[in-house]
Symmetry: D2
Subunit: 422 residues, 4 copies
Amino acid sequence: MSQSQATLADPALDYLKRFKSIRKQTLNLVEPLETEDLVVQPVSDVSPPKWHLAHTTWFFEVFLLVPHLDGYELFHKDFPFLFNSYYVAAGDRWARASRGHLTRPTVQEVLAYRTHVEEHMERLLLQQPLSPELTHVIEIGLQHEQQHQELLLYDIKYILGHNPLFPPYKEEPNEGDDGSSPLEWLAVNKGNYHVGHQGEGFCFDNEQGRHEVHLEAFEIASRTVTNGEYLEFMEDGGYTNHQYWLSDGWDWLGNQAVKAPMYWINEEGHWLHYTLYGLKPIDLNAPVMHLSYYEANAYASWKGCRLPTEFEWEVAVGIHQPDIPENGNFVESGFLAPKAQSDPGFMGNLWEWTSSAYLPYPFYKAPDGALGEYNGKFMINQMVLRGGSFATPKAHIRATYRNFFAPQCQWLFSGLRLARHQ
Amino acid sequence: MSQSQATLADPALDYLKRFKSIRKQTLNLVEPLETEDLVVQPVSDVSPPKWHLAHTTWFFEVFLLVPHLDGYELFHKDFPFLFNSYYVAAGDRWARASRGHLTRPTVQEVLAYRTHVEEHMERLLLQQPLSPELTHVIEIGLQHEQQHQELLLYDIKYILGHNPLFPPYKEEPNEGDDGSSPLEWLAVNKGNYHVGHQGEGFCFDNEQGRHEVHLEAFEIASRTVTNGEYLEFMEDGGYTNHQYWLSDGWDWLGNQAVKAPMYWINEEGHWLHYTLYGLKPIDLNAPVMHLSYYEANAYASWKGCRLPTEFEWEVAVGIHQPDIPENGNFVESGFLAPKAQSDPGFMGNLWEWTSSAYLPYPFYKAPDGALGEYNGKFMINQMVLRGGSFATPKAHIRATYRNFFAPQCQWLFSGLRLARHQ
Amino acid sequence: MSQSQATLADPALDYLKRFKSIRKQTLNLVEPLETEDLVVQPVSDVSPPKWHLAHTTWFFEVFLLVPHLDGYELFHKDFPFLFNSYYVAAGDRWARASRGHLTRPTVQEVLAYRTHVEEHMERLLLQQPLSPELTHVIEIGLQHEQQHQELLLYDIKYILGHNPLFPPYKEEPNEGDDGSSPLEWLAVNKGNYHVGHQGEGFCFDNEQGRHEVHLEAFEIASRTVTNGEYLEFMEDGGYTNHQYWLSDGWDWLGNQAVKAPMYWINEEGHWLHYTLYGLKPIDLNAPVMHLSYYEANAYASWKGCRLPTEFEWEVAVGIHQPDIPENGNFVESGFLAPKAQSDPGFMGNLWEWTSSAYLPYPFYKAPDGALGEYNGKFMINQMVLRGGSFATPKAHIRATYRNFFAPQCQWLFSGLRLARHQ
Amino acid sequence: MSQSQATLADPALDYLKRFKSIRKQTLNLVEPLETEDLVVQPVSDVSPPKWHLAHTTWFFEVFLLVPHLDGYELFHKDFPFLFNSYYVAAGDRWARASRGHLTRPTVQEVLAYRTHVEEHMERLLLQQPLSPELTHVIEIGLQHEQQHQELLLYDIKYILGHNPLFPPYKEEPNEGDDGSSPLEWLAVNKGNYHVGHQGEGFCFDNEQGRHEVHLEAFEIASRTVTNGEYLEFMEDGGYTNHQYWLSDGWDWLGNQAVKAPMYWINEEGHWLHYTLYGLKPIDLNAPVMHLSYYEANAYASWKGCRLPTEFEWEVAVGIHQPDIPENGNFVESGFLAPKAQSDPGFMGNLWEWTSSAYLPYPFYKAPDGALGEYNGKFMINQMVLRGGSFATPKAHIRATYRNFFAPQCQWLFSGLRLARHQ
């Protein structure tokens, strides 16, 4: 056995390889942008891309280098203050809503910060045998950066897509569209099922506590709702008929003057929408995206159906599609929009709103320390989404993965899949 | 069998008797108030007592008299506009936040409105055989008025308890206090259970869909948390240590400068609280009340426990206390505060926050028409409370009854009961 | 000389008589109201009528009885806190925006407060020779109550006029309307003039500092603008053409969706307005009222004219109408609206917006102590109005009297008179 | 006479030279910045520097090239929408508060826009004899750009000075400080004076209408208040004693938690302030700056003095310093802060708050068309400042120049000079 073979088997090298690859991918995402695009924060939810570059770096610095690399000195004494997001236990932080006021450090300085932390992370990974505690935090750091990669795309799209010049993020590839398959109903029988994560691989704390649930018999749609189907709802007065809407959703429509999914623009009677490829006509076969929970729920209500619970969704996937599809539309496909589905399937394309509030599983306990703030403290006023999107790394997603957003959020890559009782 | 006996068995007479009794009870509640107290709305959530008097009357007028009593004419053409609460299907309505601007109609005019509608309701009840549809709406009207009786007390307490003169609502009766029993843990085994309403009696649509759930084994406390226990949390820095709090709760603390349950006032180091009997020292044995969900959850977290889910609560009651206790502290007891519990027990005293979001049961379908807006459209951003309070009529409450409020609400008569996994 | 003659000449008795008469007039103003009307505060600017009853009483208690009547005890220890308006030097106070939350003290208790203070004021007035310092404060107390009488009517009109039932405050008297005179232009020559108060009578500190100003030649209208004239502006698109509006005014129009003077309601193409006599058709000959400064200024701009400065107004009155007219429409006329003017004239009917910002006169110095806060601290962001209205006591007004409101206020009894350079 | 000499005398060439020089100066101002600094808008009042670059260019494009240069085509069809500031007559515009959302056009594109418009302006200036109408608009365009140069520095300072890293804008030059002269009182006699602009040179419409005013005798300070003098006020409790403050100012202090002039930071008992040279200790001899009107007025009140009216200021300058001083601290001095004054003097260093509201002069008439919106529509809720600052071009300022800001603004280069009656 040669040394290099030995080396390849070394978990530290494996981590190093993934670390470098994931860090590189973050830079790839901002590569098409102008410096100006990296700085602004048009609404509080949308962080400056520069902030994401720094915050993901801060995570490694504060949770790994500072406590675990002997003699490590902070790249800059003020960066922990500037780039902590919401970890109260990790100290004071710059107000979230003011991230877009910070022109300094510059993009170049943030890139230097990234390089500095990467060099020291390499040293950390190579200098010591990795304890389980350490690998756990490294793993979270990598998963964390992958989550921010997806948020980066949400925020980039918001920044460019709310600019009246509608600049494209990238040039559209020349891809044929196969058309959408007819919607089929996939059945699941009444019974007890197990949900939650099991096995060796990584998962977040909020997926843990594999447990039993009882489900009534139900059917779930073979694909998410298309733009064409959603347009029928709109043309049937969906946005002006209160009976389809939750009360908070109806107020939200009125207060925000919402008349369509985010990024939809009506030009002289024709619907266009901003995509990462620029302003485009609506593709009727493609999945509808940028829905709030309120819109997803209203559509389902109009259709006489409902959204699946997160457990129905997870169980249905376990039965009808136990493996993540090879040809799924994840970030690796390089396509920056959801694709029309030609076959029944789950995962990839768009996060799917479920009717489940984001709450702890039985036996849930938040981890100790600052990382205990990662998931648990958000378990209120949020709804669960499942399945990953075209912006999710395939290696990042699982059927048990619980994403969550407040019900009024539209800027994520969200869609909806119908369910119904038999 | 005499005619009067026959008459007593008549369901219409039975309804009439309950109708008169419930309507009378509403007036009893405002009897201790001054005219001035009936008019104001210090915050949007708190409606003027006068508005409750009129709105509960509007309910009978619009959903029963107008459609079902031949020749009925509105008491006043503008009252449907003024006193509709949130029924979009029932037409336009005066803005909720401006209810406290309406000095007219006067209290006397609203009382005349009540009398007018009561006389016509009597006519309706006696003139025709009651169809099931009609009795269903009558029943909802009665339950609706009972719900508003409890809200009336919340709102009256808010109005008087935020007045710097702290006027008592009533004189305190001379009641001995037995002291609180030690907290015991009641166990429930892992297994499948049925939840939701069954049987002949009335229930709201949100309780329907009796269905099976699977529960892990758990224990639930024999009583709710006391003021003394809650003070320990406060004195241990509970309100200043972020780690016990949900993120939204922590922000709420900061934004609202919350430092204690609502109505608690610290005078030179001593805690007092406003009660319906005026400003009083805290009774350490009595149940703590006026907690938001955030506070209830933070206390449980500090204690190393959690709140029960609504299903755990319902199943535990079914096992440990299948009948509503004779000596429960409901509105009929006439005591206007929760009592220290000397025995294990559920129901009455205080509504108990559960860890369940308010969501539809399987097969839930909102009724058609305006009454479909009664419950279903609020199934977002709210948490379920169970059990009824000292302000709830005993005949109004059930173990399956689902009350719900937004997690930041403090002005209801809410408390908390701990649960834990074994 | 008989004793009664002596008594009549006694300044203390004279004050007592005026005191009683003015206090009585305040009660007369609320006599037509229901208890409910006295309690609410629909917007921050509009205080509950009950509050005016108490605050004017507080003024006498705190500035006269407490410092000057031996052995005087507060009617209620909390009332100084509850009924101080804005005198920082006089101690803490209940937040202005929350005056409408206070259902207690009740109206009856406030009336008892009034009686108590009146009895003690009578004692104070009779028991001692009145020093100049004391008479000065008594005089301010009386003037203060007269000012609040006018505010009372503004606030009563707001409360009743924003109620969708539009209840009249009083029944309309049967008065003929003479029609409005044609507008004439009254000329004033270029030159130096004296402005500000002189002589023996009472004036507020803001009128003091009689001083010389230089005016260019100008003309001023013989009467204020009528409803008919203002309608021409409206029908010419006055509210939708930016060029007539100050920038802040244009924003105010947009933000508040203002389309007409306050209380104007368009019913199927016809303009009505709420008056203290109820909802009435617009009288084209009557002066237009309830204009903000922005509207007054926009009208003048549309007309190719301007508003007079406060000095132009004062000098013009000195030349063209040196005495207050006997038949002026002041509160003594008992008519609760402005009257069409049949002759040239100034004073009464409506306060007239001038183009002068409310600023100190040369040599102005605010008095020492809490009463120094009466006028001086408001000398920013306000515009001066002159002349008094139908709600002003004739004995309260002077040509030098400077009233002031923020430019967006509409709920006062305000109108506009044109001016122009020759 | 050679042709070049003739050319130099040509007014078009003169304009061209000034045009080029002024345009160049704008670029000089942003030269020390990073691209990131040019994009953000931390508060609504502070525009992104990039926006200033584009807006001043838009002014020339829309008011000169489009109407007057044959065949001119817009550089970009959307730029008039993006870069119109507040000219309603010039069409729709991007919302002011969202200027900081616009990452595109990029800085490079805006610079290209500048070059394009400059080339065409050169063509316009040279191709035709300049009519008086045209030269008037050109002149306004140049003055307008100079005004924005000063605003640019305000906004740059705000952006850098609110960054927790406090990056300097430039390196501080090595300048000796002569110390401040003792304050002298300069007297002006009672009498009639003329104010307002006269003569051939350019002035804004708001200075026109040379007219006579009458002034009481007064004295005015020989220099503005120093940091040391202002510190005495602060240390005497100036910010916590209501009696020095206007009511709106007192509320502003409380709501904004203002405890010192903008940019002052207390570090362990020592006052520092952010300057364009970075964070520095307070120089006690230098003029105090970044005061709101409320602070200036409170200081004067504490000192037993007052602010001068704008007419007192103008007349005093006419008497005591009829010419603009050669050695004044204007932008040409290259020093980016006010200097301690060693001699009595006016103009330069800091704009001085006067006690005059910004109102029209007699005979004022706003120009026709969009340029009529330049000054007139802001004549409400603003106070006049006089004299120019270290950021004002010497050729731009005059004794009659009326600057104006809302009384709460602190971010301008403002100071205060005392006045008093004799």
